[in-house]
Each structure stands twice: as structure tokens, then as C-alpha cells.
Symmetry: C2
DNA sequence: CCAAAAGTGTTAACGCTACACCCATGT
DNA sequence: ACATGGGTGTAGCGTTAACACTTTTGG
């Protein structure tokens, strides 16, 4: 139901909320802005959609600007359109949720920003625009996704231990889980299988190495 | 992360997927277009967002153009942005899901369309743009919402019978349910209460009249 | 009195939760 | 030998799923 696009002057941007896990803690990728009026502030990586570019493609492009990852999960989150969300004018932002294993993410230093950095989600600084709202929304969606789908594959490297897996759930959902019940549930869903070999991470007993049976999105009730 | 909106010429529209229930069947509100190149085709009601208008406000405005409803549920669905989705140019559409009781929806006849009509969702005609995709997505979201929230209130009038309620679930989820288990579940959730009085709808035993205890959105696992 | 929808309980299977001890390794 | 995380089973409880007959009304 559209008419004459030339009559509008609404801008369309994408913003990426990129999550990852390190040492059983949730991190989010932030950039430090040069541009006024937010000079020095932190924000989500994003940018205007190009001419003849689809929103999904723009999100991928912005993502590749800061990092290069093979195993990646990306989904559209929500479109934020408050009039005053951008002081530069009426800019609507299509927000995306991205998940990646931090081991595979090599950050690039960019001229257009002062800095690009993984920041603990629990110590989120003030963000530019309405990006705090976007980040909070993304966190909620992530919680839901963990509980009802198998997306967790997108946060872990190829090989991992069951304790690694459990820590992802515990840190994101913010509650401790029972080790035995957790393993029973995970194994009954056929999400993972033994990869052969052990992973040693200290002066203790090494853990069995696991891998995901599939890295395709699936709906599965994982945790109540 | 936006720069200079004047450099873009992307249009932004909203499209509403409006569902309702009649005689235990799911209906969707469609308009028949006059505008070329879709003259005579059916489509979802929608339109470009105005200058200085927020997407939510645009969705409400478009909704008021075709109907006037008090009890209404409206939520953003997804933003569709395929390059070729609109032959008029690069127009991104923020799609909305709306739910209303059909009794309260008085359709307005509009000059800009040939017709505005409730159509059975099961007999959906070919739609203009990518509106078939939007409608399919909306239907999925509706199914999920029914199972995990109390939105069903938005599809029924003030007073209704438990059989009415069950038929809403059966028609949208596409499966029969056990009457006794259904009632047990609904009553245990305190979603509804007796409204006093009976509702007779034929030559048979009249049913107890119920009303919702609350018409505010809530998360509640209703059906597995 | 007949047709049609309203209304009402019990049981068995399953899934979830809670809970404690031994094992393997490096220092 | 010890400190630390890895690894394993069972029993009680609550929830879900399957199932059939009686009641009320209008015609």
C-alpha cells in the first residue's frame, strides 16, 4: 500500500545488537562514536541502509565492518521509530540480534570510530540514541530464544564442554541450574553429541568434548 | 548510527494484518485496490508513514481509516524490506498484527478502495505486493500468541461462552481439543470469570456467560 | 420425547525437581 | 595427598492426556 516515496524524508538505518559469551559471561559489541552530538559515547554498531539494499543485507554489511565470522546467527529484532530517537532527523532503525562465538570474532579497528570493543552486558555504559532500549529488548529476545530454541549453538565454538554449555544458560538467564537435570535434558534433545577427545582447562579432571549435532535453527523447548 | 537522511530515497510504509473471529472461523480484513498496477487485487490495508509520524501511530491511523474499534490489540510484527516487494520503488514495510472482536468492528467504505471486506483466512485470495508472506507470518505469530499469552481476549466480545473461547483456539491452531481439559486449564489460569446470566444460541441448553478478568496483555502458558 | 449443545471427574503416563557422592587430573 | 571441577541415578510430585455420560432447553 505505498504511493510516492519521493514525498517522504524518513531515513532508515540498521543497528546490530551483537552478543557473545566469554568465561561464562555475556558480552555485547559496542563502538565508541566520533560523530557529533554523541562524540565519545558508546553505541551499537549500525548505519543507514544503502540505496537498493535490503535491511538484512545492510545488517550483514555493518557486521562485516567490525568483525569477520563464519558461524553467525542473525535475526531481525524490532523496528524502533520514535520521532526523537535521532537528533539528526526522523530516522527509523531496524534492529538486529546477532550471536557469535567470541573465539571466532576478530575485531577490526575502524577509522570512523574511536574504538570497537566487547563490553560486559552487566556493566553496560550509557548508550547513544535509544540504544539502551534496543539492547534491553535484544537481551529479552535472547533469553526467550535460549529457552525455546537451539540457538545456543551460535554462541559456542565447534568444540565445548557441557559445563561451558550450562554456563551460557546460567549467565544469560541469570539463575543457577542443576547439573544432572541440565545434562539429562540436553542429552534427551539430541542437540549435542560427543566429539571424541577431552578438553582440559586447568589442573583438574578434563571434560568430555562435545559438538552440536546440527547448527540449523530449530524450535525445541529446552528449559522450563 | 545514522547520518544524513537526505541522501536516502527509501520509502517507509505500514501494513496491518487484522484478524478476527466469526462463527468459529478466522477472518482477515482485506481491501480491494484501485491503484495501479494492482487495480482490482486484494491487499492488506496500509499506507506510507507521514512526516513526523511514528510507525505505531501510522498503524493506528490506517486502522481507524477502515474501522473504529475500542477493544483492540495491536503489535508490531516484522519489517519487510525486499527490494522488489513494491514496483513503485524501494519501499520498506513495517507490518503490524491487529486483533479485534468482529462484533465491534464497523467497516467504513472508502473512496480510495473498491471494497473493504472480512475474508476467511482459509480462503485467502492472491494478494498484492508481498502481502501473502506478511499474512502467513502474522498467522504464525497469532498461533504463538494464543498458546503463550492471554491475547485471546482481543478476539472476543465482552460476554462469551466457554465453547466460543474453545472454538477460537481450535480454529486458529487447527486442532480439536478436549472440552474437559480445556475448561480445567482455562479456569485454573483465572483468565475468565462467570459474568452472570446465560447465553442461548439455538434450541438447545443455554451456556453460562463469561467475561475476562483482565484485558491486559499477560504471559501465561495456556496450551501445550 | 427428541435433538443438540452444555456441563462435569478420574486415572495413568510422563516430565520436572530435588538431592549427594565418587572420579580424574595437576600440582 | 589434596584441591578442583567432571561425572552420574533415583524417588516424589505435579501436570497433562485420555476418556463417556448426564443435563438442559426448544421444538
Amino acid at each position: 500500500m505505498a504511493k510516492h516515496p519521493t514525498k517522504q524524508s524518513i531515513g532508515v538505518a540498521v543497528d546490530n545488537c551483537i552478543f557473545s559469551i566469554k568465561n561464562g559471561e555475556l558480552y555485547i559489541l559496542l563502538i565508541q562514536m566520533k560523530k557529533k552530538p554523541f562524540t565519545g559515547m558508546w553505541a551499537l554498531p549500525g548505519g543507514l541502509i544503502h540505496e537498493h539494499e535490503e535491511p538484512d543485507a545492510a545488517a550483514h554489511r555493518v557486521l562485516r565492518e567490525e568483525t569477520n565470522v563464519a558461524h553467525l546467527y542473525l535475526e531481525q529484532l524490532y523496528t524502533f521509530g520514535k520521532i526523537k530517537r535521532d537528533p539528526a532527523g526522523h530516522i527509523i532503525s531496524v534492529a538486529y540480534l546477532a550471536l557469535m562465538p567470541m573465539e571466532e570474532a576478530h575485531l577490526k579497528t575502524l577509522l570512523k570510530y574511536f574504538d570497537v570493543r566487547w563490553s560486559k552486558f552487566s556493566e553496560l555504559p550509557r548508550l547513544a540514541y535509544d540504544h539502551e532500549e534496543i539492547a534491553a529488548y535484544a537481551k529479552q529476545r535472547l533469553e526467550w530464544k535460549l529457552e525455546y530454541t537451539n540457538v545456543v549453538w551460535s554462541l559456542l565454538p565447534d568444540r565445548f564442554t557441557l559445563t561451558d554449555l550450562q554456563k551460557v544458560y546460567e549467565s544469560i538467564l541469570g539463575r543457577k541450574m542443576d547439573k544432572r537435570n541440565f545434562r539429562k535434558k540436553i542429552m534427551s534433545l539430541d542437540l549435542v553429541e560427543e566429539a571424541g577427545g577431552k578438553i582440559a582447562r586447568g589442573a583438574y579432571r578434563p571434560a568430555t568434548s562435545y559438538k552440536f549435532t546440527s547448527r540449523k535453527p530449530k524450535i525445541v523447548d529446552i528449559l522450563s
